[in-house]
């Protein structure tokens, strides 16, 4: 989910990843067309069935039941343990032990409680009476089998977490104790992405073809490249929810704004420009995501070529960047200039970190290049660009003012990714999306971290040691201190330069009454999402 180019939220990330031609040609054409013909129409009404009153008949407690919610996502598999490239859809069908609330905090979801005295032994106590879609009650043995399957499946989501499990025991039908080979404090946050399925799900031993979960909706049909059809699960453990009868998840790519304006879907992520264009539509409101993605300029750390091994050259590029201008260009008021991976003002963020590149200093950049023996115009860093070159071009324009002439090499996502992982480049400008735990950001800069190409594959034993030390700590403040020590190394050695953080925007049609955008991309969440939606006429 990480290679976001210029886009920030989970909707636009996918657009950026997949849309060289589509986003460029059709998206632009769509936007221009929308601007030309105007977009201020009321949406088509969506059918809903009944309006039921809760106990006491209070108008305030009125619940509108029925109707179909129309969503958009690009799932690639029905097997929710395998990586699907997307998080929203699995959350409709399967629930997770924990969940991330609107403020980004981890809460129990299918769990009643967790005991983790030393971060290496976790005792998970699950709720009683939670049923799978096949009517069977979920037990701790099901949880064990889910962990075991994830561990045994190549490319499974959270496989690295499951790989750390030594033993699992089930004291009773609702409790499971998991012992890890080494302490790992992000465990409870990360299992908010572990979708539990019944081992009876068809294809369990190879590839699941119909997931049987405990989620609010039952998987009815998947037509690849078209849509997924889901129906309400009447025995959902959150009594009375969900309020809607069905969901169609349309498999839309590229610019989804016309589909939103036409009422084909009830919500979608929008860029700053799209928001401006549809801003006056009375059928649509905008919600900010509660978590942020971060944008960065990375250096090739694993196979750095001269003169990029010279810290002065890296610093020169840092001083040549105008973070404020880039943030304004990309985000307007939805972004914040930043210097850390942790979102500004969040728990793991520190106001004690000093950003040397907070203010642009072209003269200093030129001085540094001169001191490094580089003449103006001589430095031509190779800069791979994927999908959307708009922001990288702005970065290149800024660097040019300091006498640096980046060689932009545009290719599709996968070709760029392959290039990045071959370390045949010098600088790379990209973004990384919201995460359920800060560990998933720090792990990217570790020597054996996943998808290391984006950050130039740093291999720093001291950085690794500090992050691993942070994972062993149960106390939050102590953990934060260790992470910040590690971050100091990343900043001092200039693995990457953080430019800004931005919160994505979701455009929501009035039909999706009650929808609240949260801190993570899941459609179903503990304190918002589809379980709370009441379709409006």
């Amino acid at each position: 989910m990480d290679r976001t180019g210029t886009a920030g939220n989970y909707w636009t990330r996918r657009v950026a990843r997949r849309g060289v031609v589509r986003a460029g040609v059709f998206g632009s054409a769509g936007l221009i067309g929308a601007a030309l013909i105007g977009c201020g129409n009321d949406a088509k009404p969506t059918a809903n069935n009944t309006t039921a009153l809760a106990a006491g008949g209070s108008a305030a407690a009125a619940v509108r039941r029925g109707g179909k919610l129309l969503l958009s996502d690009i799932p690639q598999t029905q097997d929710l343990h395998r990586h699907s490239g997307t998080m929203p859809t699995p959350s409709l069908v399967a629930d997770t032990p924990t969940a991330i609330d609107a403020n980004g905090a981890t809460q129990n979801f299918l769990l009643d409680g967790v005991e983790a005295p030393d971060a290496s032994t976790y005792t998970f106590k699950f709720k009683q009476g939670v049923k799978f879609h096949n009517g069977r009650e979920m037990t701790s043995e099901d949880v064990r089998q889910n962990f075991a399957r994830i561990k045994a499946t190549k490319g499974a989501w959270l496989k690295s977490v499951a790989d750390g499990i030594d033993t699992m025991t089930m004291p009773d039908k609702n409790t499971i104790t998991v012992k890890l080979s080494s302490p790992y404090s992000p465990m409870t946050s990360l299992i908010s992405e572990m979708w539990l399925m019944a081992p009876e799900s068809p294809g369990w031993d190879s590839t699941i073809t119909t997931p049987i979960g405990t989620g609010p909706f039952v998987w009815k049909q998947w037509i690849p490249n078209d849509k997924i059809v889901l129906e309400r699960f009447p025995d959902y453990w959150r009594k009375g929810q969900p309020y809607i009868d069905a969901i169609d998840i349309k498999n839309l790519k590229g610019d989804t704004t016309p589909a939103l304006l036409a009422g084909d879907i009830h919500m979608t992520g929008v860029s700053r420009d799209q928001r401006k264009l549809i801003g006056s539509n009375p059928a649509i409101t905008f919600q900010q995501e509660k978590a942020t993605s971060w944008q960065f300029l990375s250096f090739n750390n694993r196979k750095a070529r001269a003169p990029y091994t010279d810290i002065r050259v890296r610093q020169a590029m840092g001083y040549a960047l105008d973070k404020s201008a880039l943030n304004e260009f990309a985000n307007g008021d939805t972004g914040t200039v930043a210097d850390q991976m942790a979102p500004p003002k969040s728990f793991y963020w520190s106001d004690k970190v000093v950003d040397p590149f907070a203010k642009r200093d072209i003269a200093k950049a030129k001085q540094l290049l001169q001191a490094a023996g580089i003449a103006p115009g001589q430095l031509k860093p190779v800069m791979p660009v994927n999908s959307s070159p708009r922001e990288p071009e702005a970065v290149a324009a800024q660097l040019k003012e300091a006498g640096i002439a980046p060689d932009l090499q545009v290719a599709d996502d996968i070709a760029t990714e392959t290039r990045l992982q071959s370390y045949d480049w010098d600088i790379y400008y990209a973004g990384s999306g919201p995460r359920s735990d800060i560990a998933l950001r720090y792990v990217r800069l570790m020597s054996d971290g996943p998808n290391p190409g984006l950050w130039g594959g740093p291999q720093d034993p001291e950085f690794d040691r500090l992050v691993k030390a942070a994972w062993t700590l149960v106390d939050g403040e102590a953990r934060k201190a260790k992470y910040l020590e590690a971050w100091k190394i990343a900043m001092d050695k200039l693995f990457t330069i953080v430019v800004y953080h931005k919160a994505g925007t979701t455009a929501v049609r009035k039909e999706a009454g009650g929808w609240q955008t949260g801190a993570v991309a899941n459609f179903n969440r503990i304190d918002g999402g589809v379980s709370f939606v009441q379709i409006q006429a």
């Binding site: 054409a29 690639q76 490249n225 790519k253 590229g254 016309p258 589909a259």
Partner: protein
């Protein structure tokens, strides 16, 4: 006629063989494979990538991969998608009827619009009707299909909201049909004008036949050779997936399947789709050749 048909078989086999070589090796030249794609998604370590390549047989010599693939292809085994894990045959079963539906509707629109317009424009040469049809046909051909599609989408779906923006058959079929009918009008008009100057037409008139009878019995049948070619090529093109139009309208046909599979480096799907598209195109052209043989005995010689 049978001998004529048999003569058409070897080029078909050569075309298919070349297409298989081209598709297979071009895909291997393009940077990135399925393991890289999964890695982009963020969940796969370097060790897992090696295991995935091993599991999919991508670590074997390319030539061996090719012969294996051709062997399976000949047996009708298209394999499984790396991503959906569904059999490619099943993905085809979802996508092909959609493309067929779109192609048939577009062809119907093209025939309904193009045949009468082209015939009348050719028969009444120099008239206002002829000029109007010529301009209209030029317009139909000149405006890019995707632009027409986007404008129609924004007007009918977004502005008027009388049709959905996604998954609707009407708009993409109209965009494609109009494009084909433009070519049809021009081809038919030109052929009819050509035939009108022929001796046999003059003879037919001299025999006392009415102009309508001459047009119906003599001119039209002789003018259809080029029209059949146009329609055959258009059909092959449509069955191969009108990639851009399917993408603009989110139509889940073969074109969409192909584009998505290329983006995901989903080799088994791309290879199968390209081979089937090639086979369809070749079959459509073979059909056209055979129709030539039926309508014009001279080509059988």
């Amino acid at each position: 006629m049978l001998q004529y048909a048999f003569r058409r078989i070897p080029p078909v086999i050569i075309t298919l063989a070349l297409a298989s070589l081209f598709t297979f090796f071009m895909l291997r030249i393009v940077p990135g494979d399925v393991a890289d794609v999964l890695s982009v998604q963020g969940a796969v370590s370097e060790t897992d990538k090696a295991l995935i390549r091993q599991e999919q047989g991508l670590d074997r010599p390319v030539l061996l991969q090719y012969t294996d693939w051709v062997g399976r292809l000949v047996r009708g085994d298209f394999g499984h998608s790396y991503f959906t894990h569904l059999p490619v045959r099943e993905l085809f079963a979802y996508a092909f009827p959609k493309t067929l539906e779109l192609a048939a509707t577009a062809m119907a629109i093209a025939l309904v619009v193009g045949l009468p317009l082209g015939t009348l424009a050719g028969a009444f040469r120099g008239s206002i009707f002829d000029h109007a049809a010529t301009v209209l046909a030029m317009l139909m051909i000149s405006v890019p299909t995707f632009a027409l599609g986007i404008i129609a989408l924004l007007f009918f779906a977004v502005r008027l909201q009388v049709l959905p923006a996604t998954g609707s058959l009407v708009l993409p079929a109209l965009a494609l049909g109009i494009d084909i009918s433009g070519t049809l009008v021009r081809t038919l008009r030109s052929d009819i004008r050509e035939e009108l100057r022929s001796d046999y037409v003059r003879t037919a008139h001299a025999k006392g036949l009415t102009p309508l009878t001459v047009l119906r019995r003599h001119i039209l049948p002789n003018s259809l050779t080029a029209t059949i070619t146009v329609m055959g090529l258009a059909l092959g093109h449509l069955l191969g997936g009108a990639v851009i139009i399917e993408t603009v309208f989110h139509w889940p046909g073969i074109g969409t399947l192909l584009i998505e599979s290329i983006r995901n480096r989903d080799y088994p799907v791309v290879e199968a789709v390209v081979m089937v598209i090639t086979a369809l195109f070749v079959a459509a052209n073979l059909g056209v050749d055979l129709l030539y043989g039926l309508t014009d005995p001279r080509v059988r010689v």
